[in-house]
Every structure is written in structure tokens, then in C-alpha cells.
Symmetry: C2
Subunit: 362 residues, 2 copies
């Protein structure tokens, strides 16, 4: 077994992890459905109380007229951008170079819709008002991702959001929020979901990030926009006869974890500090602004894997299952704080970080 | 309450129905997951034992190299046709005028792929070899739906299928099977799934028709085709982090009901005969060739609704929740036989059909 495999194997053997809510297993579904009446009827192609009630609840949370539940954010966001493009009769949108749409969707937006993209800002920082004002091309819509996941979950200031929103409204540019992790950033902004969403024309929220559901997404906005989205949802094959396995679990875990986002944020700051106290280890951002951050290690990937695997083996606390090579002498992994961190005894945590620090110094 | 509403209300009040497996409620999910270990891990973006094992099982059933699980048949089939179009460098396909893609998908195939369609055969009959041979346009692929749902689930002969398959191979035309209800037609053909699928280049199978699962579909074919389909699945937003709620329930109900398709077929023939014995009632086809058929009533929709509602009220047996107007003096509804028919006491059935017959004569 090489170091990378040893890292994954030790992670999978750990009963406890630093991040997340626990293993993604069938228990996630069983727990969500435990208290749900067997006689409760399925949704049916987007209709029925199960889906309509949850959509109304999410629309209210996000302060929008309407909301539609989708199987995935990939589907919801491509559709949102397509609708704004049709609205403006312009097949061009702008987003961050590391947007999910640009790097994780096999170019679905371009292949399915022929929509061109303008990449805003540098890869290693968030989009600022100047980037938007400096655009030389007309676009139908700008997508902002809060937090910017691929750079450790960084955020622009709330004032920047207001500035971008004002500018887009003035110029007639649609503004869409990739809010996959929207609830996770509210404690930092000190705002409600509706206050953030008021700056955007449309919003997407995911149910398996901080909320820890099984899958699924909400797209919210005005009623006309959502009516159009339902037609595209049907075209995509996303208008399933039954989405309730995702909807009811989304609702269950939303109720369970939305109130804990503040705790995850505080825990993330504490955890990041523990990493930053280790030799050759730093987090991005240094002080997290949500429940997530990236951990950078000043060692080649194989070397770092050996050290982390040994910490995992010795403590039974899972740090990470993988490492991403940044360059020949640096690697990184992502950390998202969920329910598990708070349950770890402080003494066990201290020992794990002492071992990591020792390993890094050796 | 008008007659149409009365029909729906009485249907929903019935504890028992002529068709289907029972109410689509949360019990469907709970039953499927009852015996599944909580520690079993989720699939993860198309990988993991839960999804890979089921795909391999379905590939074997269908006699194909590989299979991929999709959230929906709409998604799976559009993707299949797109791949064959790319393969032949020709964005044109042929199918029946009442194909699901033509009438139930908001033109997804055309809107998302710009694929043109050629409609084969008349609306009221199945596609025959002559229709295929008589095509004046080149197409990349032909889609055949077995059974042809919108005309009561009619089927071409197996010899016709062989003829169309031979012709398509000779001419280099792809042949795709819309086998949403493939298992349901095997008893009539007296063939295995693999024997039918051998005639086609790609096949789609649904898990919430005769199988009665929650949702989901399998697309099967050769490995190269399926590799391409996974890229499109990602583009569509169908590559969910977790599809297991659909996969494990599909597997559970497949095991439960695949062996019963012969019984559903026999029951459908018996049930159709009961309808045909009633005054002014006939089935399409007269003798079913699967578990499904359409019931045609020689009365205006409102009148027929009153009679059927009264039968439902008096017997507690649900016939239908809706009626579709054919013309001013005729209406129809669809019947799909599942688990429930065999559980209805024959005496109750006789009484219900006597009441229907009496109502029709009055």
C-alpha cells in the first residue's frame, strides 16, 4: 500500500472525523424517515403537498415569491442562467474561473445551451465590484458563489455584494446566487438568508452540504422565473414522478442543522487555528468565514499523506481521505465542519494536533 | 362537486384499486429499506458498490456490456439519442408520433440538443417494418417503444422487431429501445429481456412502471456508449452525489415483481374481458399484450364519470381517477395491472362490473 492508499484506508477506518456530520450511509435516509407517516402520499411530477409545502417554506426562508425543488444544483443553475439569457436575448454569462459550472459539470452550460462564459477575477480571489465594472463584454447574468468553495470558501464583504447588486440592477444584468452553502455564510455576514437573497434575482441552495441531506436543491426567485424553470426541469428529465426521498430528508436535516450553522462557523475558526498552530500547515482563509476552509501543507503529497495517515491510525480521528497536489512541495485538502467536531473530546483533539505537529517537524 | 371531481374523490376514497400496486406513499420507500443495513454506504457521484452492483446486474439482465443508472428515463433517452446522433454526425432521429419524447418532455430533445425528429407510422398504430423502409430521410437512430403506451400498450410482432433490427443494421441506423415497460411485454413475446435487447443498440428500462419503484431508470448498451452517457449525465445534473434511494428501491421491487409480470399479463387479459363484456365499453387492445390497456367508453366524459364514480362509491373499488376526452361522445382511461388486482375477491369484481354494465345500459 502506498502513502495515498494508506491515507484513504486509515480515514475510512476512523470511527470519528474532524469534519462533516458522519458517514454518508443508509442511516441518513432511515433517520430522516423514522417519524414520517407511511400513509403520507408521494409528490407527483412536481405536484402534491410534499413538494409544494417545502417549496413554499424555502421561498419564505429566502424571501422570494416562489421556489422549485430540483434533483441537483447543476440542473437548477444551468436552467437559471438559461432563463436569464433568454430574458435578455443574450447567450453570455459571467462567473468566477473556478465556478462549479466551469470545472465540475463537463461544460453542460455550453454543450446543452450554447451559452458563452466570461471569467471574472483571478482564480485565487473572489469577485470584487471592480471586476464587474471592468467587464468589457455584455452579459445576460452574473453568477456569484458564496462562499467561493474552490478557494477555501472565501467571501466578498457584504458591502461588495450590495455594490455588485446595485450595479447589475442599474445595467440590467441578472444576478444569480450560487448559494449551495448560503446558510453556512449567514453567521459571518450577520444577515438573514432573505437579506442576502434580496440582492439577487435568483438563488440556488443545496441540501447536502452543511445541511447534510441526501441530495437535492432549491431554486428560488419570482413566480414567472420559476414557472419557466419547471418547463426546463421537465426538459432535463428532472421532473421526477417522486422526489420525496430527497425533499423529506432535506426538510428533516434543514430543521436539524440550520440552527447549528453558527456553531459550525465558530468550530471552523477554532479548528483552523489548531491547523495553523502546526509547523508547515496553514489554512485558507486563515480565519474561516463559514464552516469550511482548505488546509495547505508545505510538503510533497506523498510525504504529507504518510504523516496524516499515521495521525489517523494513532488517534482514530479522520482528517482527510485524500490530498490534492498544489505543486511539487505543497498539497491541500478541504475541511467542512459539521456535527462531528463538537463531539470530539478536546483532549483527543489536542493529542491529534500534537502528533500532526510532531510529524511535520520530523 | 361536478362529475369529474366526484370521480377523483371516490377513487381516492377507495381502499382497493383495479390497477397498480397500491398507493404511492412513503410506505413504498420504508418497505424497500426495511431490511437494508444502516451502515451500508451511499453511492457517490456514480461510484460505489450500491450503484455499480445494480448497474452490473441490470446489464446482465439486458444482455448488454454495461448499464448506467439515471434519475429518469427522460434524461437517459435524450442522452442515448444524442450519442447516436454524434456517432453518425447527423442530428435527426425517428420515432412514433406519440413517443414520450414527442409529447411529454417539453421538447427537451429539440431544445437541448437541436435534434430534429421524423415521426414514423400513424398515431393510432405501431411502427411496422414498412414504415422504416419507407423513410425518405436519413436518421441517425430510430427509437421503438415497447409497448406503445399512448395507444393502449400495443406491440409489433417479434418478427417485425427482428426485421426492423436487421434493416437498421444493414443501413447503419442506430436502434434504441424505449423499454420503460420492457419486462411487462416479455410474457407475450415469450422471450427473455436479453433476447429482445439483442435486437437494439441501446435500451432504457424504468423502475416505477410495472416494477413499482420510486423513480429511476437504467440505460444499457456497449461500454463506449455508456462511458459517453456518463459525461452527459454529469452535464444534465443527473450525476447526483446519492441516487441510492432510487437504486435500492428499484432493486427491491425488481426482485419482488419481475417474477410476477406473467401474472399481471394474465390478469390484464381477464380484466380487459370484464370491461369488454360491459355495454358501451371496450379495451384497446381488445386482448392486452402486456399488463396495460386503455378502456374506451362510448359516452361523453361527464356522463361516464358519473357512472364510474357511482361504481367506485358503491363498491370501494377504484377504477380510475380521471377520464380523457377522445371526442364529444367518447372518453378513455388507462389501466395498468399490478399487485392489487389479484387480491380483489372475484365476487366483489363481478358485482362492480355488473354495476358498471347496469350504469352503462341505463
Amino acid at each position: 500500500m502506498n502513502a495515498i492508499e494508506f491515507l484513504e484506508q486509515t480515514f475510512n477506518s476512523c470511527e470519528r472525523q474532524l469534519g462533516h456530520h458522519g458517514k454518508r450511509n443508509i442511516r441518513v435516509l432511515k433517520e430522516a424517515f423514522e417519524q414520517i407517516e407511511e400513509s403520507r402520499l408521494s409528490d407527483r411530477y412536481g405536484t402534491g403537498a410534499v413538494i409544494e409545502d417545502f417549496q413554499a417554506k424555502m421561498a419564505a426562508l429566502l424571501g422570494k415569491e416562489a421556489a422549485v425543488f430540483f434533483p441537483s444544483g447543476t440542473m437548477a443553475q444551468q436552467i437559471a442562467l438559461r432563463i436569464w439569457c433568454d430574458e435578455k436575448s443574450l447567450k453570455k454569462v459571467a462567473y468566477h474561473p473556478l465556478s462549479h459550472l466551469e470545472i465540475h459539470e463537463q461544460d453542460g452550460l455550453k454543450e446543452l445551451h450554447g451559452i458563452q462564459t466570461v471569467l471574472l477575477a483571478d482564480r485565487d480571489r473572489v469577485i470584487e465590484l471592480e471586476d464587474v465594472k471592468g467587464m468589457t463584454e455584455n452579459v445576460a447574468c452574473i453568477l456569484l458563489e458564496l462562499p467561493q468553495r474552490e478557494i477555501g470558501g472565501q467571501l466578498p464583504s457584504f458591502e461588495t455584494l450590495v455594490g455588485i447588486s446595485d450595479y447589475c440592477r442599474e445595467k440590467g444584468i441578472g444576478l444569480h446566487l450560487d448559494g449551495a452553502r448560503l446558510l453556512e455564510v449567514l453567521p459571518y455576514y450577520g444577515k438573514t438568508a432573505a437579506e442576502v437573497c434580496a440582492l439577487f434575482d435568483s438563488v440556488y441552495l443545496s441540501f447536502y452540504k452543511g445541511i447534510g441531506g441526501i441530495a437535492g436543491a432549491i431554486l428560488a426567485g419570482d413566480s414567472e422565473f420559476l414557472s419557466k424553470s419547471k418547463i426546463w426541469k421537465r426538459r432535463y428529465g428532472g421532473d421526477l414522478i417522486s422526489l420525496y426521498p430527497y425533499i423529506l430528508s432535506a426538510d428533516y436535516y434543514y430543521e436539524l442543522r440550520a440552527p447549528k450553522m453558527g456553531q459550525y462557523y465558530e468550530d471552523a475558526k477554532e479548528l483552523a487555528a489548531s491547523f495553523n498552530a502546526c509547523h508547515g500547515v496553514s489554512t485558507l482563509p486563515v480565519v474561516p468565514v463559514s464552516n469550511m476552509f482548505h488546509v495547505h501543507i508545505d510538503l510533497p503529497k506523498e510525504k504529507a499523506a504518510s504523516i496524516l495517515a499515521e495521525v489517523q491510525r494513532a488517534t482514530g480521528i479522520g482528517f482527510t481521505s485524500y490530498l490534492k497536489e498544489i505543486d511539487e512541495s505543497t498539497c491541500a485538502f478541504e475541511m467542512s465542519v459539521g456535527d462531528q467536531y463538537a463531539d470530539l473530546p478536546k483532549e483527543d483533539l489536542r493529542r491529534a494536533f500534537r502528533l500532526l505537529d510532531d510529524g511535520m517537524k520530523a
